[in-house]
């Protein structure tokens, strides 16, 4: 194996690890926002790693340029997709989940969602 192939194999391995962790995070957290955090970010990294691996394996400059363009489009489209899901979750008024220890500390303060966050808008 040449050095390029070894580097590509490392990139593919990273893709597998990130993908599995993203899938685990999707089931581990209780609310849509946190699930999106894990799912979207680790999913993006996983696919990006695969693209980097293909970039390393590409036979000539023309193929590499195409892979770079696909990478750019993916970097635009992937966060836009997860943003749209998060935005609709926010607009229908879902409260963000807080860990248990925090909830006890400020009881009566949580669970207001939008109203609680609103005063911070004006600096």
């Amino acid at each position: 194996m040449s050095i390029r192939e070894i580097l590509a194999a490392i990139a593919f391995l990273a893709a597998v690890i990130f993908g599995v962790a993203g899938l685990a995070g999707l089931f581990r957290f209780p609310d849509p926002y946190s699930r999106l955090q894990a799912g979207s970010l680790l999913g993006t990294t996983s696919v990006l790693s695969i693209f980097i691996g293909t970039l390393l394996l590409s036979p000539n400059g023309a193929v590499a340029a195409r892979v770079v363009v696909i990478m750019l489009f993916f970097l635009i489209s992937s966060p836009t997709g997860s943003h749209i899901v998060a935005r609709f979750t926010w607009n229908i008024g879902t409260h963000p989940w807080r860990p248990k220890s925090e909830e006890k500390k400020n009881q009566g303060k949580t669970g207001k969602g939008k109203d609680e966050a609103a005063p911070e808008e004006n600096p």
Partner: protein
């Protein structure tokens, strides 16, 4: 030539040029037939879509044409940031040590393009998702929040990205 017509022409040619550049990269051939078809096609598509690609209210060329050197630098920086934050989220998935919270802050960036790129970069980078972008006001779900203070949170979430983005677009 009125200023309105000139602005239309500038937008049209920038759209056509970016289409043609993409065509060159995707076909990767310099035969005459391919070049002529690509040029004709990109001018046709640009005539139909330049209003959408570059809206009329953009104030100047610097608002949507990036500075190439800084753009490439920014892309590499983004890839580094993506991996850094992925590892942080990976650790959080395993340990479960998170503190999610919704924060609000503003951005001093002027152009629509820079704001869009900032929102997308925030969605990808330090464990944050942009929920809403309203002119210069961002609503962000922050996974590892340390504070709910608007200015401090803004600095921590977007500080470094924004500083580099200021050099790419106006």
């Amino acid at each position: 030539m009125s200023i309105e017509t000139r602005w239309k022409l500038i937008r049209f040619f920038i759209t056509a040029l970016s289409m043609f550049g993409l065509w060159l990269i995707f076909t990767a051939s310099f035969e005459l037939f391919s070049l002529v078809t690509g040029l004709g096609g990109s001018f046709f598509v640009a005539a139909l879509t330049y209003e959408i690609f570059i809206p009329r209210h953009q104030a100047g060329i610097n608002f949507f044409v990036p500075r190439p050197f800084h753009l490439i630098l920014y892309l590499f920086l983004m890839i580094f940031f993506i991996y850094k934050s992925s590892i942080a989220v990976l650790v959080a998935v395993v340990t479960g040590q998170v503190n999610p919270r919704i924060v609000h802050f503003r951005t001093p960036l002027k152009s629509d393009m820079a704001r869009m790129v900032l929102a997308n970069s925030i969605t990808m980078t330090p464990g944050t998702i942009t929920l809403d972008l309203n002119d210069d006001h961002l609503t962000v779900h922050w996974f590892f929040s340390t504070t709910s203070h608007s200015k401090v949170a803004g600095n921590e979430v977007k500080g470094e990205i924004e500083r580099h983005l200021k050099k790419v677009w106006l």
